[in-house]
Symmetry: C2
Subunit: 436 residues, 2 copies
Amino acid sequence: MSQLKIGLAGLGTVGAAVVGMLERRAGEIAARTGRTVKVVAVSARSKSKDRGVDLSAVRWYDDPVELARDPDIDVFVELMGGEGDPARAAVTAALQAGRAVVTANKALLARHGLELAKIAEASGGSLHFEAAVAGGIPIVKTLREALGGNRIGRVSGILNGTCNYILTRMADEKLAFDTCLSEAQRLGYAEADPTFDIDGHDTAHKLALLTSLAFGTQVDADSIYVEGIRSLTLADLEAADELGFNVKLLGVAVRTDEGIEQRVHPTMVPKGWPIAQVSGVTNAVAVDGDAVNLTLVGPGAGGAATASAVVGDLIDVAKGNRGFAFGLPVSALEPCERAPMQRHGGGYYIRLAAVNKPGTAATIAGRMAEEGISLASIVQRQPARAAGAKTVGPEDVAVILITYATTEDAVRKAIDAIEADGVIVGRPQVIRIEKD
Amino acid sequence: MSQLKIGLAGLGTVGAAVVGMLERRAGEIAARTGRTVKVVAVSARSKSKDRGVDLSAVRWYDDPVELARDPDIDVFVELMGGEGDPARAAVTAALQAGRAVVTANKALLARHGLELAKIAEASGGSLHFEAAVAGGIPIVKTLREALGGNRIGRVSGILNGTCNYILTRMADEKLAFDTCLSEAQRLGYAEADPTFDIDGHDTAHKLALLTSLAFGTQVDADSIYVEGIRSLTLADLEAADELGFNVKLLGVAVRTDEGIEQRVHPTMVPKGWPIAQVSGVTNAVAVDGDAVNLTLVGPGAGGAATASAVVGDLIDVAKGNRGFAFGLPVSALEPCERAPMQRHGGGYYIRLAAVNKPGTAATIAGRMAEEGISLASIVQRQPARAAGAKTVGPEDVAVILITYATTEDAVRKAIDAIEADGVIVGRPQVIRIEKD
């Protein structure tokens, strides 16, 4: 039986889990692939650290780029992370040498995926990244292979477990954002500096990859509109609940007449959607195709789940199932024509902290009408009801508007006019509503 | 660009949808695979019927077995259905000739899948059947490829849209089973003779395939315990709702110490599970692995969804991604050691129509205790409350028991004893509870 020789860079939680899974499942993987799949060389920061797996028989490299160039490996597995070097240099070196590369590095791929796919095609290498998007959910394979007959109109997902954990706890336990963030940090679900997760950047990286896979376009992370969950209050979540929605941080990519709309923002999702019920650190991805609407729900992070995706890719490599990184040859990927966010069309939830005096609601409704915005409802809440809203003072009232389908541009103009009227205080809250 | 030449047997809704999708998406599929994928020969009952697709340029066969032997096809697509001939003979002929076969035929595979996989391996052919289980949901690929690193403990699913449609309407609109079945028939969701669907046999066929893929065992449809949804009443669904469950017809395969338990029956599923929220004709499959718990939700039937699965398989074939039919070579598939249903362990919902006299509840509780069954609750309902229950006469009361984990055997013995005591009338209703 021939051997598939792996060089693995990065021995954190995921790297150790990959080594463990390959050992534990060696017989089964050999039966599936007809090959023994074996880690023969590694690189990591510390050689002495106990990782719970036996690495005594493998070659050690201090430099992952040197590991990537080792002529005696077939696959380079990159689990270091980071969009720059050494990850980028190492992956580039392995691909240039015609190797298969398996990586979980979404930041690297969101920035340099197209360039890396090109190198792979030119050299006869291949690039696999199931673990880079939604961890243990096989959404890359699903888009790249299974749904190949579909014309896809929308792909959307809960792609960041930290945010979903925070939003779930806020909604279920009526807690403030800061409390839930601290709790997530205490439990290891959020970093000490949570910016990257809660401001939506991690979701944006993953969305950039999904967009390319779903629409056959070049990866374009820069054209994503990104808004995080910091400004969400319990009052917003409670209002959403009453209206039949859950609030989720979604990454959404939609094919529109204007081009591809890519956006990351808190979203009101109808409770009946499978994705609305996804709680805690769990991830979910929904794909709307012309033939199939599919939702996949599973773990988005963690050593075992990410290792499962890496090992799935390794099994493909061992079987000779390589394929194009983004489903199509790079030459066939179209430029990602950006649909401007101002043209985004949909319903909106708008919460304003308004000055408590007669005529305020009329002023607000008037400004909406001027922009051609139809209101599904306008509700004015007494201070006591608005207790969860940070920006509402004792003398102010919360005004909650739900609009019918309108545009981002119209909403922004209306809010600017309302602000100029001096009838609101603090920062208006705007949450987009996602519907069929 | 080389051509992948398809011979397609069966031009019903799915067959026509496959032809249409291959035409509509020809450019994209060619880019993905590097080949033109084209139907060159077909067989169907009527040559003259208008199917909305242009078949003027293809060769026609009256006999699908002859089509399967056509030396000028690369892939045989079987969409005729039926576990016997001509489907079996045609698939056998194509595999013997070393062709790739793509089929949606669950009955054929549940009965003869192992034998067909053997023929494929011997001849260098390959067998693909994404469309045979849960229609547009890529669960075959997910189990066969993506989750290859996992040791799977349980796979379960809503695999029959007809049943789920009926159960959803019963629960949502408080309708009787017969009303919902008629409605399903009127809408084309149920056959004139609905036996195969509502008695669980269709679910069992699909489960047999999932079991093999999940556990690496030989397909064994005969060892599946099968119970359909005919006996479910609105009273059961309402009681489930009050207890925090939805009732679904599930196919469940579990790896136990006793062997593989395969069962199809109405199941009380906790509302918080993604699968519990799946409504209407939609299908869902949940996989519990040691690394990943995954739920996939999507369309289980229909021309477009099934065609999507067939075309996904054709793209794999065109790319040379063949693999073993059940993930492993036939020689590595273990016999499916049957865990007897009497040993099934779990919680139970039991509804009895009891004679309305003092001491009845005590008798029932006593018989349960004799079998070592712990009761989580025992509720006795006055006739008015039990209106939905068919078997309850004006003088009887419904007694609803919820047990803690016990065994099928204990429950059956206790019920037999209660029946012998003469304190109940009609047929006891037993619904198994599925929990983590």
